[in-house]
């Protein structure tokens, strides 16, 4: 096995092995657990960096293991997978630091961090999957390893949320499986291929392909929280803040959206999908989800619930960018995969800080919190403004390309969806900022913890500040080499090459 074949395995192992070891660590071995967590995350980041460099310079990273006759387990690095793997690796490291601070002193940490590492392993597997069957395996593994994280607190509410999550995602997984098997019977292959592998099929198969498309999108749409399959996501908010951050920014929701991108581009091929007439309905579903999610967010007093509905809305930007069909909109959709992750993780970290430090869970409890926790609220402000699409933050870049792409593709109605969504985003984020910065603080906070002269623990404060800076940097330096925008352009060039 040469280096190029081994690298994808090493990347998987960098989180898998620490995760397995951590399971067997006694609770009191804090230093060992922390070292393993951080070393694994840092090693993964380095390896992914090497791989990104290699992919950019045309190196081929692939490992193939026969599973069944005609079906291989394939891990392969391509520019699209690198976008997702890069995001997961960076945010995993940050989330690990945050989780260490967040769970300090709480029970069952070894179990938590074990599943936490497995969750990232499954996510990286989803990203590096070279065919639909490998994708499906890691996708289902992700479902299973995320469940213990959602029910981690062990309360009745947590268990109920976990149950709902399982019902939704397993049902979605079944649809995905049916679609995959059916597709295999038609084509005899499931390999992800640039511009898809279905356009050579006979026209008589097209109705079947449309049904398969619906099955695959419905299956993936559960995790991507497409309406009406999003019901699990707001309930899953009962999970600890690092898990929420992981669900919304790094792993589960992103895996669903990434899967849809894979199906549209590397299974069907965007042009073929458009010719089948399936992209417009997909765009409409995405548009409805964007508006509905934002409207629901508008009325939530629970901060994490508001953020959850915001995710429902924002994730569909990615799908909208894909479904609009056109190189510029694709850039917008792909870059939002990264930008949404960075912005949303910032917001969840901040929500976690408010809950852990002051016991604040509701928007109505946030009056004047900017004076008490200025760094946290500055990070939150940057994340919120990014979500609204204020320049020069990350969200502005995404909306710019989505809007421009819509005009380029002759789908002007998308502009109104973007404008409406921006208005609604302002409607549910700006009142939070107003309350936090301009209203008088309460005399006492719901459950205040003292951290000396600092507003909160370092491990809780540093991650949102870092991700807020990232939100600013990926927007401000969008045209710099190796920025997410440049990488999304690189992917699009390959996808739309003549």
């Amino acid at each position: 096995m040469n280096w190029n074949a081994a690298l994808p395995l090493f990347i998987l192992a960098s989180s898998l092995l620490p995760g397995l070891v951590i399971f067997f660590l006694p609770e009191e071995r804090i230093a060992t657990r922390t070292t393993l967590n951080l070393a694994g995350a840092a090693l993964k980041l380095v390896l992914v960096g090497v791989m990104i460099w290699g992919v950019f310079h045309g190196h081929h990273y692939e490992i193939r293991q026969p599973m069944l006759p005609g079906l291989d387990l394939v891990l392969r690095a391509d520019p699209l997978s690198m976008l997702f793997v890069g995001l997961s690796s960076i945010l995993w490291l940050v989330t690990t630091v945050y989780a260490i601070g967040y769970l300090e002193g709480s029970p069952n940490r070894s179990r938590f961090f074990g599943f936490f590492s497995l969750c990232v392993t499954a996510t990286v597997g989803v990203a590096l999957a070279g065919n639909l069957i490998t994708f499906l395996l890691f996708y289902e593994l992700l479902t299973l390893v995320t469940y213990p994280l959602i029910v981690h607190r062990g309360t009745e509410v947590a268990r109920r949320a976990g149950r709902t999550y399982l019902i939704y995602t397993i049902a979605g997984g079944v649809l995905l499986l049916i679609g995959t098997v059916w597709l295999y019977t038609l084509t005899g292959t499931l390999e992800f291929t640039e511009r898809g592998f279905l356009s050579s099929l006979d026209a008589s198969q097209y109705p079947a392909l449309i049904i398969i498309f619906v099955l695959l999108i419905a299956g993936l749409g559960v995790k991507a929280a497409l309406i009406p399959l999003h019901g699990w996501l707001p309930q899953a908010m009962v999970a600890p803040a690092p898990v929420s951050a992981l669900l919304h920014a790094v792993a589960v929701v992103k895996a669903g959206a990434f899967g849809i991108v894979r199906v549209v581009y590397d299974v069907y091929g965007i042009q073929f999908a458009a010719s089948l007439g399936v992209t417009l309905p997909l765009a409409i579903v995405a548009a409805v989800t964007i508006i509905y999610g934002s409207m629901r967010a508008l009325f939530q007093d629970d901060l994490k619930r508001r953020l959850a509905f915001s995710t429902v809305s924002q994730i569909s930007y990615i799908i909208l960018g894909i479904a609009v069909v056109g190189p510029i909109a694709t850039v917008g959709g792909l870059v939002h995969l990264v930008h949404q992750g960075v912005m949303k993780i910032t917001l969840f970290f901040c929500a976690g800080n408010l809950a852990e430090t002051l016991g604040i869970h509701k928007v109505s409890e946030m009056n004047g919190v900017g004076r008490r926790m200025p760094w946290t609220m500055v990070a939150f402000t940057i994340g919120a403004f990014g979500m609204i699409g204020v320049p020069p933050l990350a969200g502005f870049i995404s909306k710019w390309y989505l809007g421009l792409g819509a005009l380029d593709a002759g789908q002007g109605w998308v502009i109104f969806i973007l404008a409406g969504s921006s208005l609604l985003n302002a409607g549910y984020f700006l009142p939070i900022l107003y309350a936090a910065w301009f209203k008088s603080p309460a005399e006492t906070w719901p459950a205040e913890r003292c951290f000396g002269r600092r507003e909160t623990a370092w491990a809780l404060l540093a991650p949102p500040v870092v991700t807020a800076l990232l939100t600013l940097a990926v927007g401000l330096l969008a045209s710099a080499p190796f920025s997410p925008l440049q990488w999304a352009r690189f992917i699009t060039t390959l996808e739309y090459a003549p």
Binding site: V174, I178, I212, A218, K399, W400, G403, L423, A480
Partner: protein, 437 residues
């Protein structure tokens, strides 16, 4: 001038106040010093007598900063205004400025200077958005209830304005990759249907400057803002909005007599409105707002003339820069004068108390209702009451909320139903598959 040096100098003009806006960077400086230090690069730039610009391809989608004769005047005005405001901020009679206020002050300053130096639409838009939001902070921070309400109206208008300008920006970007002012002006001049772009830019900047009939935030803002902030209103949001309209519109490149006539008409009405309101209002603090509405009306009339006849704009367009400079400085002098008069007679003329934020049409409607009641036509009050009740209900959006809550409740409670729906999908798929095979 050396390219690197000019790039550093141009970047330092908005960069220095931007850095100082972070409390950590100014913690060792006396508070008022930071406001003056932030202006130093702009002063140095004013002292360099050459015209130069710099491209920043790594910033956003590739943007640029530059200075020419016109922007030098605007920069000069801004330096004078901001230095005066900083002095006003620390005058013994002023309300003391807290650390957060200084942050908003420096952020607005950075954005204001950036707007002046921007050489393309994206840079201008980014700086003007930053300016809008940070100016909101200036208006609201430490302000009374009236200031907060004024800020609220301003914020709503700002969001709408930014949305419209963003859409206009997209339209321009769809037509040309080069988004410099000159290139956009030319491409829009050649465009067969620039109507949507023109209307979005006009309405967007009208919202930003508070031009009539979108002036609702301007009156309460002038009245309720602290003196240092009121001083900046004319040279800040109003002047920069006018500058934006000038730079974004294809003036001198396009002939649109109908649109030009409509805009001129609006401008004239705005001036008349300002005169009438100015004569009716007894509060001194309202006077600058009326002057601003009058001046923007005049400017809008000039814009209309420019759109109707490009030759007129080509010949006299440059005067518009001087107009903006005079407006900013003139309003500042007026506000300082009014403040001086107030200080001289602190107790002789207490400010007229009243519901200043009531919209004029609401008051007009009230008068009609009153008159209707007097002549025995009592249906009107009922209509009015019903209308107000509807508006109240709409404001709370309770009905929508209830509908959405129910739908969400259904989705969450009936997870089995959702699962059945998915299973139904599978059955459909199998039936479809069997029939196809």
């Amino acid at each position: 001038m050396n390219t690197t040096l000019s790039a550093i100098l141009l970047l330092a003009v908005p960069g220095c106040p931007l850095l100082l806006a972070f409390p950590a960077f100014r913690s060792r400086l006396p508070c008022h010093f930071s406001c003056y230090i932030a202006l130093l690069p702009a002063l140095i730039l004013l002292a360099v007598p050459t015209v130069f610009s710099v491209d920043l391809p790594w910033l956003l989608f590739g943007t640029g900063l530059g200075i020419n004769g016109a922007s030098r005047w605007l920069l000069g005005m801004s330096v004078v205004l901001w230095a005066s405001a900083a002095t006003f901020l620390y005058a013994p009679v002023s309300q003391p400025a807290d650390n957060r206020f200084i942050t908003f002050f420096l952020l607005t300053l950075a954005a204001n200077l950036g707007v002046i130096l921007a050489t393309d639409l994206v840079g201008f838009f980014a700086f003007s958005t930053l300016m809008g939001y940070s100016f909101y902070g200036l208006l609201v921070n430490g302000g009374n209830k009236a200031a907060r309400r004024a800020g609220c109206v301003y914020l709503c208008f700002l969001i709408l304005a930014d949305l419209l300008l963003f859409e206009a920006l997209l339209i321009a970007a769809a037509m040309t990759e080069d988004l410099s002012f000159e290139a956009v002006r030319q491409i829009m001049g050649q465009s067969a249907s620039p109507g949507l772009y023109l209307s979005m830019v006009l309405v967007g900047f009208a919202l930003k400057v508070g031009a009539w009939p979108l002036h609702f935030w301007l009156l309460p803002a002038f009245r309720s803002a602290r003196p240092a902030v009121a001083l900046l209103l004319g040279g800040g949001p109003v002047a920069m909005g006018l500058l934006g309209a000038m730079r974004w519109l294809p003036l001198g490149e396009i002939t649109s007599p109908e649109l030009g006539l409509i805009i001129q008409g609006l401008g004239v009405v705005a001036m008349l409105y300002a005169v009438v309101v100015g004569l009716m209002r007894v509060q001194q603090k309202t006077l600058p707002a009326c002057v601003a509405i009058f001046a923007t009306g005049l400017f809008v009339t000039a814009l209309g003339a420019g759109l109707a006849d490009p030759v007129v704009w080509s010949r006299y367009g440059n005067l518009a820069y001087f107009f903006i400079v005079s407006l900013g400085l003139g309003l500042a002098v007026l506000i300082i004068g009014i403040r001086w008069l107030e200080l001289r007679k602190p107790s002789s003329s207490p400010a007229k108390q009243g519901d200043d934020l009531t919209l004029w049409f609401e008051r007009g409607f009230g008068r009609v209702v009153h008159w209707g009641g007097q002549i025995g036509f009592d249906t009107l009050p009922r209509l009015r009451a019903a209308w107000l009740a509807d508006v109240g209900c709409l404001r709370q959006i309770r009905a929508w909320q209830r509908i959405l809550d129910r739908s969400e409740h259904f989705l969450q409670r009936w997870i089995v139903a959702i699962t059945l729906l998915l299973l139904f999908g599978m059955v459909v798929a199998f039936v479809g598959a069997v029939s196809l095979i």
